[in-house]
């Protein structure tokens, strides 16, 4: 005897979404800028000095790790948050947005998001940055959802570990796929926007990929696959 499939499996997904990477795509800053801001506003003078100097000293290492493997970079980089208090971070988030993130939004980024919204897309920001850091930006841009990395806190203190799965590379494609299933959204009708070839998986999982302010590798890929190339700077 045949069993009827649950309703969600039988009807075709009809909605569409636009998934936006953030760093380099919508804003010119990145995760290091955000941490730098937290480090410089840590609260105590020795703490500020220690964290700021450590961060500056490690910039070449961050750069190298980012080039080699984004996953290793994320795991290593987020260790810097260890010991920071949750309430301090949350307090600084709004200031970080006003002082650092908001001025770094690319001039035409909001237009692109508005155009996607007018096209009937849910606006979803997908980023390797930390969720509390990007929440004000998501609110400012009118995003419907934010998919971002989550810092683990124990007793209100950051452990420096990100709650898995880390949102980067292939995992961005996985979370987008899951998001579409949950929200009854068609992957084929959806759009993805990113600036980096490291987000290749995110671009290929949707039906309408677009390169935004692409790096050299992504520009070459976009040319090969006839993806549109935008410049929102």
């Amino acid at each position: 005897m045949k069993h009827a499939l649950p309703q969600e499996h039988t009807s075709k997904p009809t909605g569409k979404a636009a998934f936006f990477d953030i760093d380099g795509t919508l804003i010119s800053t990145n995760v290091v800028h955000a941490y730098g801001y937290y480090a410089m506003n840590e609260g105590s003078l020795p703490g500020i000095l220690k964290r700021t100097l450590t961060t500056v000293a490690q910039i070449p290492l961050f750069g190298a790790l980012n080039l080699v493997d984004r996953k290793i970079f994320n795991e290593y980089f987020y260790r810097q948050y260890e010991g920071l208090t949750e309430d301090r971070l949350l307090t600084l988030t709004e200031d970080l947005f006003e002082d650092v993130v908001k001025p770094a939004i690319f001039s035409k980024a909001k237009d692109l998001i508005d155009e996607a919204r007018r096209a009937g897309c849910r606006i979803v920001l997908v980023t390797g940055a930390l969720d509390f850091t990007m929440r004000p930006l998501a609110r400012h841009l009118g995003a419907d959802d934010l998919i971002a990395n989550r810092m683990q806190f124990v007793g209100g203190i950051a452990t420096g570990k990100v709650i898995p799965p880390i949102i980067e590379g292939a995992n961005k494609a996985n979370v987008i796929r899951e998001y579409c299933e949950t929200h009854h959204i068609s992957l084929m009708k959806s759009f993805a926007y990113t600036d980096s070839a490291s987000d290749y998986a995110m671009l290929t999982v949707v039906g309408r990929p677009t390169a935004v302010n692409p790096d050299i590798r992504l520009r070459a890929l976009a040319r090969s696959y006839n993806w549109p190339i935008l410049d929102v700077r």
Partner: protein, 537 residues
């Protein structure tokens, strides 16, 4: 080698038709960014354009006369009041082709109009390029079209491109009697007076089409830019017999009812080339030895250049057009005068149709100025424009063959023609049926935020534009039995288009004769300069 004297056979110098005889000179034809020099079969009818009409002796005086003696309206100065809001709309870079030498006649008209506005105390003036869903003109192109003085005084805040996707920038008027959406640029709609400055190259342009399509949006264009309206328009060049123009006229009349529009239409002659490429304006029978030398020299130089350099070179050749008429006033009576003048220059009477028609395909179309004539634009030139340059009776017989000479390279400009790339590779490989394409994909492309963004913030044609290019060729596709791309450098581009290919023109003619019969009649249309055939049956 044939002696030169045999190339100067006797022929009727006044006639636009030359029948190819044994010993007739080989014909020069465009092959994209190159030239072919080809012997045509004996008996081939070669159709030439009319010689350029003489331009008006004083363009500024002609403009001032038109402004002071308009058709169906008061003179422009009588319409002006201090403090009023005026919008000047101008045709975009798609006209004329090739772009004209500076000063562009739009600049000359605007300089005079702006002076008049200033003298009348009108300070609230915007100049809008009526580009509809065409690409935005670049700053350099805008400066070239209007001159440095106007550009510096007005750009970017008061001299800019129309934005059909600006949600705040479009306003909807009442619908037409056929329920067509009438949408118009908000600034123009809220102006006390709109002055439209047009360049008329062919009868398809101007009239109600100027404001009704140039300053509107996708929703309004859908009323007539669709496969069925195109099929119901046997000739785009004869407005009275065209459903396309009927729809445009209905929309235009609603606009005229709501907004005061003062049209300034200009006609130009067909002097598209001058030295050192002046030989392109001549019949081959009239070529001097020096002309032949220049042609061979140019062919040699082109053979050594990469394609982008050839394009650069051709787009630096500006046309020395002369203004043949300036007409002003209300839409319809002004346009009547314009059409009359336009036919004087472009109409070439021809007796009877042909089984096979050969078009030399140039490097430029209205949609690739400073860019690439991509496969879709080759199609629109062949089946949209050149096929339709007639008054209801095409030059090629029903079921006949069109031969075009073009490499049909698979090249697209990602900055200007981004949606074309997807249309060509994704949609056209699925179906060539314009109705299916329209229903299945047009809206998706038109609303694609990436394409909307490229149109609004970059210099790309709108997402719906590649569809219009395909619809434009609809009548040609329905009419002809076969299209052969002579010299196509690949198989897949002609195949996607549904065409045959041949390596050479001779091979293409042989194929066409195989299709139409050995006694098939052949016409070669010697363009550019462009012209329209008035076929008498």
């Amino acid at each position: 080698m044939r002696p030169l004297k045999t190339l100067k056979k006797l022929y009727d110098e006044e006639s636009h038709i030359v029948i190819t005889e044994k010993g007739s000179p080989p014909r020069v034809m465009f092959y994209g960014e190159d030239f072919w020099v080809e012997d045509l079969p004996v008996g081939t009818r070669v159709i030439f354009p009319r010689p350029p009409l003489e331009g008006v002796p004083n363009v500024k005086a002609a403009i001032r006369y038109a402004l002071n003696h308009p058709e169906g309206m008061d003179p422009l100065h009588a319409l002006l009041k201090p403090g009023m809001k005026v919008t000047i709309a101008v045709d975009d870079i798609s006209l004329p082709l090739p772009p004209m030498k500076t000063p562009d006649v739009r600049q000359t008209v605007c300089e005079i109009v702006l002076e008049l506005l200033a003298d009348s105390g009108v300070d609230d003036v915007h100049i809008i390029i009526a580009n509809a869903l065409h690409r935005r003109m670049t700053d350099a192109e805008m400066k070239r079209m209007m001159g440095e003085k106007i550009y510096d005084a007005f750009a970017p805040d008061r001299y800019y491109n129309h934005d059909a996707e600006d949600p705040e920038g479009i306003t909807e008027l009442e619908r037409t009697s056929s329920n067509e959406v009438v949408a118009i640029n908000r600034r123009a709609a809220e102006s006390d007076l709109v002055i439209y400055v047009n360049i008329n190259l062919v009868p398809m342009d101007g009239g109600h089409k100027s404001v009704g399509t140039g300053l509107t949006n996708y929703e309004s264009l859908r009323a007539h830019h669709n496969p069925q309206t195109i099929r119901d328009s046997p000739s785009y060049m004869e407005p009275k017999k065209s459903q396309l123009h009927s729809s445009v006229d209905r929309i235009g009349r609603v606009i005229d009812k709501t907004i005061k529009v003062f049209h300034i239409e200009t006609t130009i002659n067909n002097r598209m080339f001058e030295e050192p490429v002046g030989f392109l304006m001549k019949k081959e029978e009239d070529f001097s030895e020096f002309d032949r030398l220049k042609l061979q020299g140019m062919k040699y130089a082109l053979s050594k250049m990469p394609r982008p350099m050839k394009r650069k070179m051709f787009f630096n050749i500006y046309a020395p057009y002369e203004v043949t008429g300036v007409f002003a006033g209300s839409t319809e009576p002004t346009h009547e005068k314009t059409l009359e003048m336009s036919w004087k220059q472009y109409s070439v009477p021809v007796q009877g149709q042909s089984d096979i028609v050969i078009f030399g395909m140039p490097y430029v179309s209205p949609y690739n100025v400073n860019s690439i004539l991509n496969p879709l634009l080759v199609q629109v030139m062949a089946l949209g424009y050149l096929f339709n340059l007639n008054r209801g009776v095409p030059l090629v017989k029903k079921g006949g063959v069109i031969i075009i000479t073009h490499p049909c390279y698979d090249e697209f400009d990602p900055d200007h023609h981004a949606p074309y790339i997807e249309f060509f590779n994704r949609c056209l490989t699925e179906t060539r049926d314009a109705h299916v394409l329209s229903h299945k994909y047009e809206r998706e492309f038109a609303k694609n935020p990436s394409y909307v963004h490229l149109y609004r913030k970059g210099n790309s044609y709108h997402g719906a534009h590649p569809f219009y290019m395909w619809y434009w060729g609809e009548n040609g596709r329905q009419h002809v039995g076969k299209v052969i791309a002579a010299g196509a450098e690949n198989n897949h581009v002609p195949a996607i288009m549904g065409w045959d290919r041949a390596d050479t023109l001779s091979e293409a003619i042989e194929d066409a004769r195989g299709f139409m019969g050995r006694s098939a009649s052949i016409s070669f249309v010697k363009i550019p300069p462009i012209f329209q055939v008035d076929v008498r049956l």
